[in-house]
């Protein structure tokens, strides 16, 4: 099942840690693991800007913090703008080597923060923007966002009236901005995730990394299944792992030997419990169509 063609599987994982244990994330949280791995890829000097989201509380309440890099909490819709200003300040101070990273959830990216993100991308700001996507407003108790997938239960799309629209295709929106680097990643493939952050750090201009991040309370899954479920999302092409340079060069970085049906992914989570076999067929068609569209572009240009 895990036999994969991985572009980055021989990379060594850095031993350095830039966040400590003792943070307050839930057990099995994909977002806390993603941050730990991302910081390994980024290294120092790095500064983080985080809007309202789970990561606003994960480091702990004042005066405690789990972070060993400068960390600024900001208002919900401002990540793209604050990182633009912060990078300009470091440039003024002759500290252009500081990597400025915005780290927002799907609500802060797909919905309320999309304007500031789009502005920063259009200006090709020299920053990295990360969306850790747990597919709903998890910090406020699982409300629907533009990143919530078709058919999912949330506390504002109850099982009797689950989300009737497909997930907004944020990656395509970012591709349309024609920025230097876009990648998808998940903590289920740590080598791939770290390699993408390392690569992003080595580049200049706007970089966008989209991380699928399991949320046991929001997805209604057991805490010890997060890695398994994020891996299934990749293997069933629900969340293909790839990277895009200048909106021209597309590369799939983890290629499943055998594609799994979406059924296994959906059935592993309580938030999809109410779906009928028919619903799942619709879901499968949606996923296949999107992946085929993406696949056409993979390695189209010889590198």
């Amino acid at each position: 099942m895990y036999s994969l063609n991985q572009r980055f599987d021989n990379m060594e994982i850095p031993e350095d840690e830039h966040m400590t244990a003792g943070h307050v994330a839930c057990a099995g949280c994909g977002a806390s693991l993603s941050m730990r791995l991302a910081l390994k890829g980024l290294g120092k000097p790095t500064a983080l800007v985080v809007p309202a989201c789970c990561w606003g509380i994960i480091p702990g309440a004042w005066p405690q913090t789990a972070m060993e890099v400068p960390f600024f909490n900001t208002a919900f819709m401002t990540t793209g703008a604050v990182i633009s200003g912060l990078k300009a300040a470091y440039r003024r101070r002759g500290m252009d080597d500081v990597c400025v990273v915005g780290w927002a959830g799907d609500g802060g990216t797909y919905d309320i923060g999309i304007q500031a993100l789009s502005g920063a991308a259009e200006r090709n700001e020299d920053v990295i923007y990360v969306c850790y996507d747990n597919e709903a407003y998890m910090n406020t108790g699982v409300q629907r966002s533009g990143g919530t997938p078709l058919g999912a239960w949330t506390s504002t799309t109850p099982a009797k009236a689950p989300k009737s629209e497909p997930k907004k295709d944020m990656d395509e929106i970012m591709i349309a901005h024609r920025i230097p680097y876009i990648a998808t990643a998940t903590a289920a493939y740590p080598h791939d995730l770290i390699a993408k952050f390392k690569k992003a750090r080595s580049m200049r201009g706007m970089r966008y990394i989209h991380i699928l991040s399991a949320c046991p309370p929001g997805w209604k899954t057991p805490e010890n299944m997060s890695i398994e479920i994020m891996r299934l999302a990749v293997l069933s092409n629900i969340f293909p792992l790839y990277e895009v340079e200048n909106s021209e060069v597309f590369r799939q970085t983890v290629i499943p030997d055998e594609v799994e049906p979406v059924n296994n992914y959906l059935r592993s989570q309580g938030r999809f419990k109410h779906l009928t076999q028919e619903d799942i067929q619709v879901y499968q068609r949606e996923v296949t169509t999107r992946f085929e569209r993406l696949k056409e572009r993979f390695d189209r240009i010889a590198v």
Binding site: K44, P45, T46, A47, V49, G56, I57, P59, G60, A61, W62, P63, T65, M67, E68, V69, P70, F71, F72, N73, T74, A75, M77, T78, G80, A81, V82, I83, S84, G85, L86, K87, A88, A89, Y90, R91, R92, R93, M95, V98, Q115, A116, S118, G119, E122, R123
Partner: protein
């Protein structure tokens, strides 16, 4: 150097001479020529700063906060709707203790659309923790912009420089432009001390604070707003020492022996100077008190100027629907401290809303109305409005 400048150009000169390092801005009438002038200054090498052309005023303030957290001097400008859109981030800037300086060209709130002068935009930001400095003329605009950086950075609180739409923003006056080196001597490079995102000394800022530390941090803002009163006075004196022009938080004009005092802010104060002189020529004992700072509210100076007077006529180019003019409310609350014998009757007039003119005639009319009235609630407080 002496030059003819509009109020908006004066703001841009003030920011440039102050050595601003990051500007983030978004256009809106009647502020736009501030950020256009800054763009020209940067392009021509007159000012050396980073300029972020953001996609909204909300992002302009957010980018300024980000830059300020990076430890540099930051500036933006806006008006009316733009200031309303920034509201969330105005609170954020003071909470984060980022000394951002913002020039607001007063513009009336929509709907309906109106681009003319009205202080309701800035006065609506009363509780955001910003220092608010109002200006009467273009020289004061330039000088106040420079002083605002010094005041804000000393206190680690953001400051707003406020000028009337068109009456100042688009009106030209001859202005003394200070030498850049002299300004640098008055206002050295910004030192954020330990409140910035220093990679060598990493801290987490703005993390959730439980009720007790939160209340403590809020109390510190109030404590520093109280300290701000003396800091502003010191900066005014320091500025006069460097450049020979003295400003006051509260300034009287022919006020000492006046029986009825007119209280004005912004450009209405300069019209009131002329009106008071005309009234004096008619044998009236009229006087003017101009208030420059709204936050912190200079209560003691106001009491000093008004104590023992019979009547004061406050002219508000703004109002709070369901209550009254905002300067009048503030004034009444500080005058409550006086005894009945010492406390003047406060007449709160609403005039000049949405850019209606406050002329010498308007002010004289207000003066005589006040003089002849027995009680404020006997008369119509809205001046120059058709009741239809």
């Amino acid at each position: 150097m002496r030059k003819v400048l509009t109020g908006n150009q004066a703001v841009a000169y003030g920011a440039m001479l102050s050595g601003v390092e990051v500007v983030a801005a978004y256009p809106i009438t009647p502020q736009t020529t501030i950020i256009e002038t800054l763009a020209d200054m940067q392009a021509e090498g007159l000012g050396d700063f980073d300029y972020i052309r953001v996609e909204s005023e909300h992002s302009a303030m957010a980018a300024c906060i980000g830059a300020s957290m990076g430890g540099v001097r930051t500036f933006t400008a806006t008006s009316g709707q733009g200031l309303f859109l920034m509201h969330e981030m105005l609170h954020y800037a003071s909470g984060a203790r980022t000394p951002v300086v913002l020039a607001n060209v007063n513009r009336a709130p929509a709907a309906p659309w109106n681009i003319w002068s009205d202080q309701t935009d800035s006065l609506s930001q009363r509780e955001t923790g910003w220092i608010q400095l109002y200006c009467e003329g273009n020289q004061e605009v330039l000088d106040t912009t420079i002083m605002a950086f010094k005041i804000a950075e000393k206190l680690k609180l953001p400051a707003m420089v406020i000028l009337d739409a068109f009456f100042l923003s688009h009106t030209s006056e001859p202005i003394e432009i200070p030498d850049k080196e002299a300004v640098k001597d008055f206002l050295p490079t910004y030192d954020p001390k330990d409140i910035w995102l220093d990679p060598d000394n990493p801290h987490t800022f703005g993390a959730i604070a439980m009720s007790d530390p939160y209340m403590e941090l809020r109390w510190q803002i109030q404590r520093d707003m109280e300290i701000a009163k003396s800091v502003i006075a010191e900066v005014h004196e320091d500025f006069a020492h460097h450049f020979g022009r003295m400003y006051h938080q509260v300034e009287g004009y022919l006020a000492e022996d006046a029986e009825v005092l007119v209280i004005c802010t912004g450009t209405a104060a300069s019209t009131a100077r002329v009106a008071v002189e005309a009234l004096r020529a008619e044998g009236e004992r009229a006087g003017l008190v101009k208030i420059k700072t709204f936050r912190p509210f200079p209560g003691e100076e106001i009491i000093g100027a008004l104590k023992g007077k019979k009547k004061v006529a406050v002219i508000d180019r703004n109002f709070s629907p369901g209550a009254q003019g905002i300067w009048a409310q503030e004034l009444r609350s500080v005058l409550c401290e006086l005894s009945d014998q010492e406390r003047p009757m406060v007449y709160g007039y609403i005039a000049g809303i949405g850019g209606c003119d406050i002329s010498v005639k308007t002010i004289k009319e207000i003066y005589y109305k006040t003089l002849e009235s027995h009680r404020p609630d006997d008369i119509d407080m809205w001046v120059g409005v058709r009741h239809v």
